[in-house]
Subunit: 379 residues, 2 copies
C-alpha cells in the first residue's frame, strides 16, 4: 500500500482548503492512510509530516504497522496525546486551524479536544475528504477486494453444500439458519478472513422478507427461498454478496402458476432488475440513475412497491461506503469505484428475494466481480 | 426485559435536568430501552411517551421487537424522521430543550438535526445517563450475562481440546492461531451466539506480548504461552474471558529457574494480582482502588512496569462499558455492576500472560462468574 501517496493527496487538499492540519479519527480512514489496524488512535496530518497517536496497548503493533507517520504512544487517551502534542508546538503564537472529521468525531470528543488544546488552535468541521479519496480504489486495493470477493463466493458454495447435505440419505434433517452461517464462517476463518463483513444473513421462509434477517435458530423452511447475504474481511477489505436459494423441489417455470407473484416470476424480475442496473453502470452516470434502472424493471413487473431499500453502496475497507446507489444520489461514478448492485423484493410476513453482486466501474462500463451464477437454484 | 421501567427512570432524570425530551442515538442504549436490535434508529423519550424512528428496511423487525415506544418508519434517514416529527408537533410556540448523547452523536449529525428541526428546538449535550443506568444490571440482564459467560467458558474448553488434539498420535501437527479461533467460533454459532464480543485473540509465543493480538496465521509456538482472550454475544449480552495456556511440556515449579521472569513465576504473580483485585471488589470501593490492588502485587514481584493496561472494565450489552477499573477512576462500585478483572504482564518481543474473569459486585464483595480454573495449564 502506498501510504505516502495517499497522504500526499490529502496535503494538497489541506493547502487548498487553508487548513494547517487534518486530524483523522475514523479508524478505516486511519488504516487507509497509515496502515494501523487497531481499535484506538488518531492521525494528525500536517504539511511537514504526520504523527499517529495511540495508547500503550498498541505500542508494538503501531510500530510494526504504521507507515508514513511517526508513532507517539500515550499513557492517556490518544485524544489527550494530540492535545498535549499541540501544546508543545512552537507555532502557538499564531492561530492554528485543524480540520476534523465531523461525520465521525463526536460532540463530546470535539469539546474535549478544544478544552485540552492550546487556545490558539481552532478545530474546524471538515467534509469527508478521506472517504471521498477512498471511493476510487487503487491497484493494491483492487487485488485485496478481488480476493475477498473470491473467498466470499466460495462460502456461498459451502452454504449450498451444507443445505444439500442436510438431506443426504433420503432422511430430511432439519437445518437451522445458524448452522449454515457457522459452516460458512468456519471456512472464512480457515481461509484467512479477519472477520465477516457484517452479521451473516441466512433468512428462510417468512424471514426472507426481512432485508436484514440475521441467521437465527429457525430451521430452513422447505419449498421457500432462503436469502443468503454475507461477506468476509480479508486483509482489511470487505466482500458483499447475496443469493436467494430455493429450498426443496423446484417450482414450475415462470408464468406456469396463476399467482402473479409466483417464485420463479419474482426471481426472474429481480434478476432482470439487477442486470439492468449493472448495464447502467459506467463512468459519468450518477448513483441515482443506476438505482432508477433497477427500479424501472421492478415497477414494470408490478413489484415496485416491494423493493423497499436502495440498489447498492460502495464497498472497500468498510462494508458501507460512498458512493451510495440510491434514489436521488447525484454522485457521479468514476473508473475504480467499487459498488454493490442488490435489488430485492419483499412480501412482509411471506417471503423475499434479493440478488447482489459487487462490480467495479471500468473506463467503458463495469466488471462484475462476483463469479457466482445467478440462475434460479433449487437445492 | 422491563423496558417501560427502564424508560421511567430516564423520565425522572429528564424532569430533574429540565429537559423536555431525550434523543437516544447509541444503538446499545436503544436496545436497552426498547429492545430494538437493528443497526439504524433513534429513540425519542418524552414525559408523555416514546417514539422509535427507523427506516423501511426495519419495518417488520421494529414492529416485532420494540416495546414501550411507538414505531415510526421513515423513507428517509431516522434523523430526518425525528426532525420532521418535531416539525409537526404543536408545542412549537415555546422553546423545546432536547438532550442528546454527546458521547455518541457526531458533530455532523448534531448540525443536521439542528438545521432540519424547527427553530424553537434546542439540542443540548447530555451526560451519558443511559450508560450510567446500564452500569447496574437487573435480574433479566444477569441471567443473560451468566449464560454468555457459561458459553464462553465452554469455548475455552474447546480451545484446549483443539490444541491438545493437534498433537494426537505422537505426530505433532502445526496448528495455526486462526484454527483455534475458528473452532471456538463454530461452537459459539452452533450454541446460539449472535456473534463474538470482539475479534478473538489467540496470541502465541512473542505475539502473546501484544495485549490485542488477534488470531493470526502464525502456528502455535511450542514451549510458550498462548493467550486466549475471547467472548460471545448471547441474546445481546457479552462475555469476556482470558486464559494463558502453556503449549508443550510444563516448565518446572515457580522459582526452579534462575531466570527472575520464568514462566511459572510470572504466571503465579499475574494470578495473585488477579486474586488481589477480586478480593478488593465490594460496594463502596472505587474502580481505581481495585486497579491499585492488582498493580501492587505485580510491583512487589518486580513486574509493575510490564503491566501496561488497566485492570478491567464494565461488560453488558457492550464489551467495554463503564465503570472502568483503572488508575485514578473514582466511580464507586455498587451491587449489580459487572466488571472484568484482567491484569497482564507483557515482555515486548518475548512473551506475555493475562488472566481475566468476569465478576458481579454483590452486597458484601463479589461473585466470580467465570467458572474456568486458573491453575497453570500445560497442554
Amino acid at each position: 500500500m502506498n501510504f505516502p501517496a495517499r497522504q500526499k493527496k490529502l496535503r494538497e487538499h489541506l493547502s487548498t482548503a487553508r487548513y494547517d492540519a487534518l486530524l483523522v479519527s475514523h479508524l478505516p480512514n486511519i488504516r487507509y492512510l497509515c496502515g494501523f489496524t487497531g481499535s484506538a488512535g488518531l492521525l494528525l496530518i500536517e504539511e511537514s509530516g504526520s504523527v499517529f497517536f495511540t495508547d500503550v496497548r498498541y505500542d508494538t503493533q503501531a510500530h510494526e504497522e504504521v507507515k508514513g507517520a511517526k508513532v507517539a504512544i500515550t499513557r492517556k487517551s490518544p485524544l489527550t496525546g494530540v492535545a498535549e502534542f499541540l501544546g508543545k508546538r512552537r507555532k502557538r503564537a499564531r492561530k492554528w486551524s485543524i480540520a476534523t472529521e465531523s461525520e465521525h468525531l463526536t460532540v463530546a470528543e470535539k469539546k474535549r479536544l478544544s478544552q485540552q488544546s492550546p487556545s490558539g488552535v481552532a478545530f474546524k468541521d471538515s467534509a469527508p475528504v478521506v472517504e471521498r479519496a477512498r471511493m476510487v480504489k487503487d491497484a493494491d486495493e483492487m487485488n485485496h477486494i478481488r480476493e475477498a470477493v473470491r473467498l466470499g463466493a466460495r462460502l456461498f458454495d459451502r452454504a449450498v453444500e451444507v443445505i444439500r447435505s442436510s438431506k443426504n440419505g433420503g432422511r430430511k434433517k432439519s437445518l437451522r439458519e445458524v448452522e449454515v452461517a457457522a459452516e460458512m464462517e468456519l471456512m472464512a476463518r480457515r481461509s484467512g478472513a479477519e472477520a465477516m463483513s457484517f452479521p451473516t444473513i441466512i433468512a428462510s421462509g417468512a424471514r426472507a422478507a426481512l432485508p436484514h434477517g440475521r441467521a437465527s435458530e429457525q430451521t430452513l423452511t422447505p419449498d421457500a427461498f432462503v436469502v443468503c447475504d454475507f461477506g468476509v474481511i480479508l486483509a482489511g477489505y470487505c466482500s458483499d454478496q447475496t443469493r436467494s436459494v430455493w429450498v426443496g423441489s423446484a417450482p414450475g417455470p415462470a408464468g406456469s402458476s396463476a399467482d402473479p407473484f409466483d417464485a420463479r416470476k419474482v426471481y426472474e424480475a429481480v434478476r432482470d432488475a439487477q442486470q439492468a442496473a449493472i448495464e447502467a453502470v459506467r463512468p459519468g452516470v450518477a448513483g441515482g440513475e443506476v438505482d432508477a434502472a433497477a427500479r424501472k424493471v421492478l415497477r414494470k413487473a408490478g413489484l415496485g412497491r416491494y423493493f423497499t431499500h436502495s440498489t447498492g453502496h460502495g464497498v472497500g475497507l468498510e462494508i458501507h461506503e460512498i458512493p451510495r446507489v440510491a434514489d436521488g444520489q447525484t454522485e457521479i461514478l468514476e473508473p475504480g469505484m467499487v459498488i454493490t448492485i442488490e435489488p430485492g423484493v419483499y412480501f412482509p410476513g411471506k417471503w423475499g428475494v434479493r440478488i447482489e453482486d459487487m462490480v467495479v466501474v471500468t473506463s467503458t462500463g463495469c466488471e462484475v466481480l462476483t463469479p457466482t451464477s445467478k440462475d434460479f437454484l433449487a437445492v
